[in-house]
């Protein structure tokens, strides 16, 4: 004790500890940089684009990459580079917005079902199980068809279709966390249910949810592609990576650049979100330094 008071180590107030930890994590930084890169591309698409993304040209159909068309042209002679930039808007939006919708509905439902149990849990869980019985893409297609074809409706449909995963994941975690002594301790000091859920359950439930978010963003981008292909997502001639990939698959051998670049872009963004999510999960955990 005397030794400790002589070598007075004043602990700094650790307020931004999570952010600092995130900054130290190279994988997360790399992932964040990729995501940021694509976000910037999407935002400044009109400034960066070399051609009009909608202008077709019958003299330039399926040209390989060249000085004029950096990433080549598609089946009606549109510049793939420019379309990729504009397509980033639709694809990133589809990924982020639909997952945000799924999170906003799924996590609260999971928290309520898991925490209160009994009849509430039974009602929510049976409903979610019924939703799960329908393949999520089919569900999204049905919803998008019912709501009418537009990108916003596609995102809504993908979000709703992705909700059951979050409900189930959150509920399962809550069931594990709510038996912990510290939750009983929170009740013992007289904390109301809402605050217990907010301060005790939610933070301890979040890490696996964060990881699930990054995975779901990836599948949402691909789901948007499928919906666009069916004409239920991004409306032509507006580009999205998914719709570009879908037309490109008919020309895999003749014009591989048509699929390589949108495919590579999806791959990179998904990788970026995954790395970022992993880093975020580690940064949110105060236990390991």
């Amino acid at each position: 004790m005397t030794l400790a008071s002589q070598t007075e180590i004043v602990a700094p107030r650790r307020r931004f500890r999570g952010l600092k930890k995130l900054a130290r994590n190279r994988g997360a930084l790399f992932g964040g940089a990729i995501v940021l890169f694509f976000v910037l591309l999407a935002v400044f698409a009109p400034l960066i684009a070399t051609h009009d993304p909608f202008a077709s040209s019958f003299t330039n159909v399926r040209k390989p990459p060249s000085a004029e068309f950096w990433l080549g042209t598609d089946e009606i002679g549109r510049d793939i580079f420019s379309r990729l930039l504009y397509g980033a808007r639709a694809s990133l939006m589809a990924g982020v917005v639909s997952v945000a919708i799924a999170l906003a509905i799924g996590v609260p439902l999971g928290l309520i079902a898991g925490y209160f149990g009994h009849l509430i849990d039974g009602t929510i869980s049976r409903f979610i199980e019924a939703l799960l019985a329908i393949p999520s893409l089919i569900l999204a297609i049905a919803l998008a068809a019912a709501l009418g074809p537009s990108l916003m409706n596609a995102m809504l449909a993908i979000g709703v279709a992705a909700t059951p995963i979050f409900v189930r994941l959150t509920r399962g975690q809550v069931l594990a966390v709510k038996t912990e002594d510290y939750v009983e301790g929170a009740r013992a000091i007289g904390l109301p249910h809402g605050l217990i859920i907010l301060r005790y359950i939610l933070p301890n439930v979040l890490p696996p949810v964060v990881v699930q978010v990054t995975i779901t963003i990836a599948s949402a981008i691909i789901a948007e592609a499928s919906l666009s292909f069916l004409g239920l997502g991004q409306q032509p001639p507006n580009p999205s990576w998914g719709s570009m990939l879908n037309t490109a698959k008919n020309f895999m051998s003749q014009a591989p650049w048509m699929s390589i670049f949108p495919g590579g872009a999806i791959f990179l963004v998904v990788l970026g979100f995954n790395l970022l999510g992993d880093g975020l999960r580690d940064a949110l955990d105060p236990r390991d330094n």
């Binding site: 400790a4 004043v10 602990a11 700094p12 107030r13 650790r14 912990e180 002594d181 510290y182 009983e184 301790g185 929170a186 009740r187 013992a188 000091i189 007289g190 904390l191 109301p192 301060r199 005790y200 933070p203 301890n204 105060p286 236990r287």
Partner: protein, 362 residues
């Protein structure tokens, strides 16, 4: 001191059963955790509830605080039936009734700093606000023997003993009147146990607390409690002042528990009569006296008739049909002395041999 007034917390026929009653789909899986327990806690005393694991002592502790709802019966705090209160009123009352948990690793939120953990009850019950909360937190840290500038750390940065001190500080944060310790030291190293027991004793004095300590270790309890309630399979079988209970246990189960305490002095060891068999399943408690399946004094009546908790002398209660006879039969003294003389002989031989050796070395 009027008898009614100095009772702070009372249990009336508290019963808790877990599980489902039998229906046409499945057999009964009802666990009789606590059965019709009545006892009262006097203001300022330390009451210990002891028994082996599975006897329902922790459940009783939680029933007394209404952390779980009783199947029947009631808990009365300061003349108010807390088992009948609305959730909102109960929450307000919780400030005065606190609990210290057994496992200091599980009882503190890993995602909160110590400052947040200790500040929460203070803010919740509006005991202070703004900067004053921090002052109170620092003060609490010092009260339980921790450095105030450690309060911005997370709990995983502390040792088990330190965490238990944080747990105690949290229980004290709301300025409680009664604290229930659910095996507060049994998860700690023996060297730390004494420190925490002493700390609890000091705090009880300083804050004028009433303590209810749930434990399975009678040796730890002896030093800190005024009265002891012994539980077996969800029932209180004996309730007495600590000194009386340790000197002359009335219930055969209490004597068995006391004999199970390890004695460090070989000469002081008497004849042990250890209990045979396991605790019967609480899903199907034995008929009559629940202890009759393991009791060395059991007679036919014991398996048929359930003994009630009856007064046995000065402020003492026991639930046994034959406690008078068992008491007058006394302990088997000759056996103990016989063993003692045999031990003395062997010790004598050992010392003589040691002396010879030192002689030879020279």
């Amino acid at each position: 001191m009027s008898a009614r007034q100095d009772i702070i917390l009372e249990a009336r026929e508290l019963t808790k059963r877990f599980g489902h009653p039998p229906n046409f789909m499945r057999q009964s899986s009802l666990v009789h955790a606590v059965t019709a327990v009545s006892l009262s806690v006097r203001r300022g005393e330390t009451l210990a509830i002891v028994g082996e694991s599975g006897c329902g002592k922790s459940t009783l502790g939680r029933l007394l605080l209404r952390l779980i709802e009783p199947t029947s019966g009631s808990a009365i705090y300061e003349g108010q039936e807390i088992t009948a209160l609305k959730q909102r009123e109960m929450r307000r009352l919780r400030r005065e009734l606190q609990i210290i948990f057994q496992d200091p690793f599980a009882s503190l939120n890993p995602r909160m700093t110590v400052r947040q953990i200790l500040g929460e009850p203070i803010r919740l019950h509006r005991l202070a606000s703004g900067r004053d909360v921090d002052d109170r937190v620092d003060q609490l840290m010092r009260t339980v023997g921790l450095r105030a500038d450690w309060s911005d750390r997370y709990v995983h940065e502390f040792s088990g003993g330190q965490r238990q001190r944080i747990g105690i500080a949290r229980a004290l944060a709301g300025d409680p009147k009664l604290v229930i310790g659910d095996e507060p030291v049994s998860a700690l190293d023996v060297s730390i146990q004494a420190q925490v027991v002493n700390l609890l004793g000091e705090l009880k004095q300083d804050f004028g607390l009433t303590l209810v300590i749930v434990a399975h270790d009678l040796a730890v309890i002896r030093h800190m409690s005024d009265r002891v309630a012994v539980m077996y399979l969800g029932e209180v079988v004996e309730l007495a002042a600590a000194d009386d209970l340790y000197e002359a246990p009335l219930h055969p189960y209490t004597s068995a528990l006391l004999q199970a305490i390890p004695v460090s002095d070989p000469a002081a060891r008497g004849q042990r009569q250890l209990l045979q068999g396991d605790l019967p399943s609480p899903t199907a408690p034995p008929s009559g006296c629940r202890f009759h399946t393991r009791c060395p004094h059991a007679r036919p009546l014991c398996s048929q008739d359930h003994p009630a908790l009856e007064p046995a002398g000065d402020r003492r209660f026991v639930a046994c049909h034959f406690w008078r006879e068992i008491q007058s039969a006394g302990v088997s003294v000759p056996a103990a002395t016989a063993r003692r003389s045999a031990l003395e002989m062997r010790l004598g031989l050992y010392r003589a041999r040691q002396a010879e050796r030192t002689q030879a070395d020279r």
